[in-house]
Amino acid sequence: MTYRFKLNLPRLILAIALMVFGVLTIITLTHTELILARSNFTSIATILGGIIFYAGVVIIIMMFESETILSITLLIPSISAVAIFVYGFIGWSVRVSLSKWKGLNPDFTWVGLAQYAKLFQDPRFKIDVRNTVMFTLLFIAACLIIGLSLAILLDQKLKGEAIFRSIFLFPMSISFIASGVVWGWLMNPSTGNRITGINLIFQKLGLSSLISLWHSNPMPWGMAFTVIPAVWMLSGYTMALYLGGIRAVSDDLREAARMDGASEFEIYRHIIFPMLQPVTLSAVIILGHMSLKIFDLIVALGNKDIRLDVPGIYMWVTTFDGTNYAQGAAIGILMLISVAILVVPYLVQNMRTETQL
């Protein structure tokens, strides 16, 4: 294939100047002892040097008048960033997980799947798996049921619908950390004179039988209560997904069903619910991948309490407190596999439907 090349001298000079300047910046900063203010300024300046060099390359590429080459050139930085930071780093983690690196100095001695085998023997990891499974099932079930119910209620064309919708979605704007801190207080297990939080409401309302230890319940039931703040945060999101799905069912279709004598209940049962299946699938994937890697909420709520341990926290503690890098990497990779099993089929499906369009 041949490409046209239209020489534009001023631009060429500009491009070469940028490239030379970029390269000189990088060389000066990396091969000399020059350190700007703080060491990370040097790194930032090096990155800027790279960007300047790249700008020069782009200007030259533009002269080729080939949109394909230009597109590739412009996409390369992002694609290579994702290739390195996502796929390269996953590969690197896998390699660490197959080594016996423990302590601060890297040790890449090959031990095969020994780290994984050790994890499956590890009682703490068993707790993590059980907690994650319990959390995921309860969290998804509660979000779907509450989300669908709220969507149906809001579909009744009431006054103030928009306000209600905003209120149910509001908790999503708050971080898992802030939410965990607030709920940690609301679900405070103290009793007697120090009773507080929701338990105090129950006591005041004369519902003392409902007073609970919440997430401080003995294993495994304490974990079930950590779902409450998560559902508070994400049931509104599930509602929004469902409401979008319900609204996509045309009014004509509903009107026709009404004409045929269908009750409102039958319309939901036979027309709307079947059409909501793809929404449910999306919701399960989105909520599921969040709960499989749940981390900050539990950190804020449980303060590294072993009874509420999840793989995300175990990985953090193992790697950065215990400096057992190989074991930490293995936990990370197992988390990745669990998420990939859920997400990859969905991405493949999504890709196929797009190709058909």
Binding site: N40, S43, I47, E67, S71, L74, S78, I79, V82, F85, V86, F89, I90, W92, S93, V96, L153, L158, F164, L169, S173, I174, S175, F176, I177, A178, S179, V181, V182, W183, G184, W185, T196, L200, I201, A240, L241, G245, S282, I286, H289, K293, F295, D296, V299, A300, N303, G312, M315, W316, Y325, G328, I331, G332, M335, V339, L347, V348, M351, T355
Partner: protein, 275 residues
């Protein structure tokens, strides 16, 4: 068509009001507790309104605790959101308008990066950031957020640009605009709503993010989530100061939601792919 006022709608409305109260209760209690002096909290009066007027001392104390971290968060989040949006816009445009064999596969491979648990890349990331001297400070955190934000920002912009009719672009072609000319003169000016969505999304995400923040920054550069978690973990802080501090830490994203909720919601929906 609005429904007529019947018994049924009244019951639903009362039910919805009760639910709305439940959803707002944690936030109400957070503010209420923050507004009380310590001797009125913790014990039996927790649910009562503060006695003797509002007490803002806790908010001042909470703010003093978190002020340096709020500054850290802001100086991290603002450049991050703006740069992410620019990069996402360029990527989204190119991937929406330039189709080749395997472009969908490439796009799906990029999207996968949005779902991974970051624990699976954390060790290489830390070692890499240490090697390039960007560990411990905010610029490194900005870089990491931008890179791991590429999938979602590209997705939002790509979906938006794919919806713009090709006729406008063809008209631009006839006028002799090049690939980048079309972007600069047609697509970019049209993409203000998407910029709003992406900037707000990235702002909220980065403000609320914890894992990268706690691993990649040292104490003097902690963003607000890390500092808040640390504050909550120390047994010395009183509940009322902690609740006031939590409210302050959550305030920016709550305000964004209240005033720009529309755009926030669109970002949220984009996260569900085609929903």
């Amino acid at each position: 068509m609005r429904r007529r006022w019947t018994l049924g709608t009244t019951v639903i409305l009362i039910f919805l009001l009760a639910l709305a109260a439940v959803y707002l209760l944690p936030i109400y209690l957070m503010v209420l507790t923050g507004l009380k002096p310590f001797n009125q909290v913790d014990l039996k009066t927790m649910w009562n309104l503060p006695e003797g007027g509002l007490f803002i001392e806790n908010f001042i104390a909470g703010y003093k605790q978190l002020a340096p971290n709020i500054k850290n968060s802001l100086s991290m989040v603002i450049p991050e959101a703006l740069l992410s949006a620019l990069l996402g816009s360029l990527n989204g445009y190119l991937l929406a308008k330039w189709k080749f064999k395997g472009s969908n596969l490439l796009f799906s491979l990029i999207l996968f990066g949005m779902f991974i648990p970051y624990q699976s890349i954390l060790i290489p990331l830390v070692k890499f950031m240490q090697a390039i001297n960007l560990y411990g400070d905010l610029p490194g955190l900005v870089l990491v957020h931008i890179i791991y934000g590429i999938p979602i920002t590209t997705l939002i912009f790509r979906n938006y640009y794919a919806g713009i009719s090709t006729e406008i672009l063809e008209a631009g072609r006839i006028d002799g605009a090049s690939l980048m000319g079309l972007y600069r003169h047609i697509m970019f000016p049209l993409s203000a709503p998407s910029f709003a969505v992406v900037i707000i999304w990235q702002f909220t995400q980065a403000w609320n993010e914890f894992l990268f923040a706690v691993i990649l920054t040292n104490q003097s550069h902690w963003p607000v989530t890390v500092a808040l978690n640390n504050l909550a973990g120390s047994q010395l802080v009183q509940w009322n100061v902690l609740m006031a501090a939590t409210f302050i830490a959550a305030l920016p994203t709550m305000l964004v939601y209240i005033f720009l909720g529309r755009y926030f919601l669109r970002g949220l929906m984009a996260g569900a792919l085609k929903g």
